[in-house]
Each structure stands twice: as structure tokens, then as C-alpha cells.
């Protein structure tokens, strides 16, 4: 048992999520594979979305995986950073939009 919550070697063990629920894992991996295929969006575009979401959900495994995937797909660091800013803008905006609720409440309670 590692002393840390996150261990980079665990990324390679992703398939082990099927240990106690193989049928569900199989369905998940099959779905996952299909999601990232070229479709109305290219695999390259999907990789950038995945990278942005990885930052939003703060998953270090996903950040590692989709940084490598992005580099392999020829995505530049500038493009990756812009994608992360999209995630940051949405997270920041999501925080700030709640300030309207704060102001509404404050207005209602104030004199």
C-alpha cells in the first residue's frame, strides 16, 4: 500500500477496475473507446476536450494521459494551454455567476 493517494504507476492499472465488476468495466471500456473515435468531432478535438475536462475534474491520471495523447496527436503546448484556460474560465465563471445569487439574497435581506 502506497503512502500517497496518487501513484503514477496506477494509471497503467486502469484495466483493474474490472476486478470486481468485469461486465460493467467491459461496457465502460467499449463505450470509452467509441467516444474517442473520429466522428462529428475529430479524435484530435476530443483529446483537447478531454484534457480540459481532466483539469476541471482535477484528475492527475487523466492530465498525464491526455497530455501524452495530445503530444502524440501533434497538439501544441499553446493549444493545450488554451484548452486549460477554457476549463478555468468555465470554472471561474461558474463561481462568479453564483455571486448573482449572493447579491439577490443580500438585496432581499438588506434595507
Amino acid at each position: 500500500m502506497s503512502d500517497a493517494y496518487y501513484n503514477p504507476d496506477d494509471l497503467a492499472k486502469f484495466k483493474e477496475i474490472g476486478t470486481f465488476a468485469p461486465d460493467l468495466a467491459q461496457k465502460f471500456f467499449s463505450y470509452y473507446g467509441d467516444v474517442f473515435k473520429d466522428g462529428a468531432l475529430s479524435a484530435r478535438e476530443k483529446s483537447l476536450i478531454a484534457l480540459a475536462v481532466s483539469h476541471a475534474v482535477q484528475c492527475p491520471y487523466c492530465i498525464d494521459a491526455y497530455t501524452v495523447d495530445g503530444l502524440e496527436k501533434g497538439i501544441s503546448e499553446k493549444q493545450m494551454m488554451e484548452a486549460v484556460h477554457v476549463a478555468a474560465a468555465i470554472r471561474g465563471g461558474a463561481t462568479l455567476i453564483h455571486s448573482v445569487q449572493m447579491m439577490n439574497k443580500s438585496k432581499k435581506l438588506g434595507m
Binding site: 484530435r44 501524452v68 502524440e72 496527436k73 501544441s76
Partner: protein, 352 residues
């Protein structure tokens, strides 16, 4: 930007083939525990690996180069003086007169820096061989005497294959040296101006994509599409095909992997991505590689590891016996995982 020097200049241990092979097999317990390439080929019923019909004569005209790229498997650079003599080229011409090889692939270093380069191309052209020149692009701009290279290539119907790791300055210059991107773009525009890379012109200009770091190339088709759109949009440049080539864990790229702490993970990635279909199509099966000093190898990578062809008394142009060479077993080692990973890798791009 940090300036890259050749391993020879730095007096690195990795200048010898034996030392590189030692790192490929015994670097650490993690490396020692990897499956052997030979065992993987046995499992794929591809061992011993034998040649198919000889089609390509790949000639490394020397290690001299105007660039010192970080990933160079030849350890080429301006300080390298080892280049092919005209006498050796004459031997190649004589051999090619009766060889089944229809294509001669000229590489280096920068082959154009060899003083006998133009004479050699003219002779090959006279023989009716298809000629590929692996041109680093910047040589065309290096000094006035090279400015007419595009026209010279065109005159002899040379198929130009050039490296460009990315369509921006930052990544390109990090791999290939300061200012390389700007000169490469100018050279590509010069080639385009006289018809190279234009659809239906008959003058082929292909690009080689090598990852600028410790990762594998993605889909060749997707990268080609991306490069075509961006090079056209940004610089009005056109080209025919893009070859995605995996960096081989030898020479300066091996040094980079070790120094950056990426070596073991990179080797594991190559091994895990072993693809039997790609393995069946490896380029060493239809190619013979000749070094600047006339020795024979299965490929340019084996050449840099000093692994000569396994053909008794037939390892140099002086002893060249094509029929006997065709019966040889191809020499394999752990670096060969670089050609069999994923969609495969060769001097002509993916192999599956």
C-alpha cells in the same frame, strides 16, 4: 537556446555501438526485465527475420551536417568529417548496374555537403534509378553554392524527403536548432516555387514528422491532414505526403532519453505497443544500408550501432554478393522495437 553538440564532440560513452547496446539491454533491472525483441518476433512467427526482394539501396553519404539535431540517430554535425569517397560511390554505381534495387535513398548527415554528391546523383539518374534525397532543408539556405539545389533535384527527378517536426518555430527549433524553422519554411517555399509538392507536378516533396520529445507519433493520416491545413494557412506551403517516424532509442536520442529520465518508460511504451503486422512490414526486409566507408547493414539504425549484415565475408561493397545477401538473417536487437510500435515506423512512414 541550449546548443546541441555531437556525442563524439562531448566524448560520450554512447559513441560506440557496444556501449549503446549495453544500455539497450542492461541499463537497469527495469530494462533487463523487458521481453526481448527476438522473443516477440518468435511469437509472431517472424524469427529469423529474412529479406524480401531487394528494392532500396540506402546510402549514408556521411556524418557531416550543417545541423546538430537533438534526436539525431547518426550523431551527425558540423564537427563530423566522416564522408563517403568518390571511389566508394563508383563501387555503388557498378553494383547497382546489376542489382534488383530500383531506388537509391541518399541520406546522411546532409548528403548534399559531400563534394561528390552531384556527380553521384547524375550517375544514378543515368542508371535510371529512382532517387530519394533526405534533405534537411536548411542546407539549401546554408550558403550560395547550395541555393540551386531545388533546380538540381528537379533536373534529375529527385524525390525530396525532408524533416519538419512541427509547423511552428518553437517545437522545430527545440529539436533541430535555433533558426532551423525559419530556414526550413524558406526552403519549402523555394521547392514549391518550382513545382515540388504540387499535385500532379510529378515532383514529390514528402515531409518526415519525428516527435519532438519522449512520445510516439500519433496517426500518420491525422498528422498529415493537420500539417497540410496549417502549412497552407500559415505559409502557403504544399507537400505530398507526411511520414510519421518513431524516434529510435539510439545515439543522441538515447542520450536525450537517459538524461531526461524518460528512457525506461519510453522503452516500455515501445515494447507494449509491439504490433506483429507492423513487424512483418519492416523496411530492413527490402533495403540494404551502406555506410560512408562502404560497409553493409540491414538498416541505417543497425549501421549506427555498428551491427553489420550477418553474411559471412560479404559485409563490404568490395565483397558484395546480392544473391548471398538475400539469404541472410536480419540482425535484431532491442532498438528494433522502435520500428514495430503501433502503426510501425520506417523511412517511408508507417508500415501497417
Amino acid at each position: 537556446m541550449e546548443i546541441t553538440r555531437s556525442l563524439k564532440f562531448r566524448k560520450s560513452d554512447l559513441t560506440t555501438g557496444d556501449n549503446q547496446i549495453n544500455q539497450l539491454t542492461h541499463f537497469s533491472s527495469r530494462i533487463e526485465n523487458l521481453p526481448s525483441f527476438q522473443d516477440k518476433m518468435k511469437a509472431a512467427t517472424l524469427f529469423p527475420l529474412q529479406p524480401s526482394k531487394l528494392e532500396i539501396f540506402q546510402v549514408n553519404m556521411g556524418k557531416m551536417c550543417n545541423q546538430t539535431c537533438k534526436h539525431c540517430h547518426v550523431d551527425a554535425g558540423p564537427d563530423r568529417k566522416e564522408i563517403m569517397t568518390r571511389q566508394t560511390m563508383e563501387k555503388i554505381i557498378t553494383i547497382l548496374e546489376s542489382s534488383t534495387a530500383h531506388t537509391v535513398d541518399l541520406t546522411g548527415g546532409a548528403p548534399e555537403m559531400n563534394p561528390h554528391f552531384r556527380w553521384f546523383v547524375e550517375e544514378l539518374s543515368r542508371l535510371g534509378k529512382k532517387i530519394i534525397v533526405r534533405c534537411n532543408l536548411t542546407i539549401i539556405l546554408a550558403n550560395k553554392s547550395y541555393h540551386d539545389l531545388p533546380l538540381f533535384f528537379k533536373m534529375h527527378g529527385v524525390h525530396v524527403v525532408s524533416s519538419l517536426p512541427y509547423y511552428d518555430k518553437d517545437k522545430t527549433d527545440r529539436q533541430r536548432g535555433d533558426g532551423v524553422f525559419q530556414d526550413s519554411i524558406k526552403a519549402l517555399q523555394m521547392l514549391n516555387e518550382i513545382g515540388y509538392g504540387k499535385i500532379n507536378s510529378g515532383f514529390k516533396l514528402d515531409l518526415v514528422y519525428n516527435p519532438a520529445g519522449a512520445f510516439l507519433p500519433g496517426s500518420q493520416a491525422a498528422l498529415e491532414k493537420d500539417f497540410k491545413i496549417e502549412l497552407k494557412r500559415l505559409f502557403n506551403i504544399e507537400f505530398n505526403s507526411l511520414f510519421a517516424i518513431t524516434n529510435m532509442p539510439i545515439s543522441r536520442y538515447l542520450d536525450y532519453l537517459i538524461q531526461s529520465g524518460n528512457y525506461e518508460a519510453y522503452m516500455e511504451k515501445l515494447v507494449n505497443a509491439f504490433n506483429p503486422t507492423a513487424a512483418a512490414g519492416v523496411m530492413c526486409r527490402n533495403t540494404v544500408s551502406v555506410s560512408w566507408d562502404g560497409f553493409l547493414y540491414d538498416c541505417d539504425f543497425n549501421q549506427m550501432l555498428e551491427l553489420k549484415v550477418d553474411s559471412q565475408n560479404n559485409t563490404h561493397l568490395d565483397q558484395y554478393d546480392e544473391a548471398m545477401l538475400q539469404k541472410r538473417n536480419i540482425v535484431l536487437n532491442q532498438h528494433c522495437f522502435g520500428c514495430t510500435a503501433g502503426a510501425g515506423s520506417s523511412c517511408g512512414g508507417t508500415t501497417s
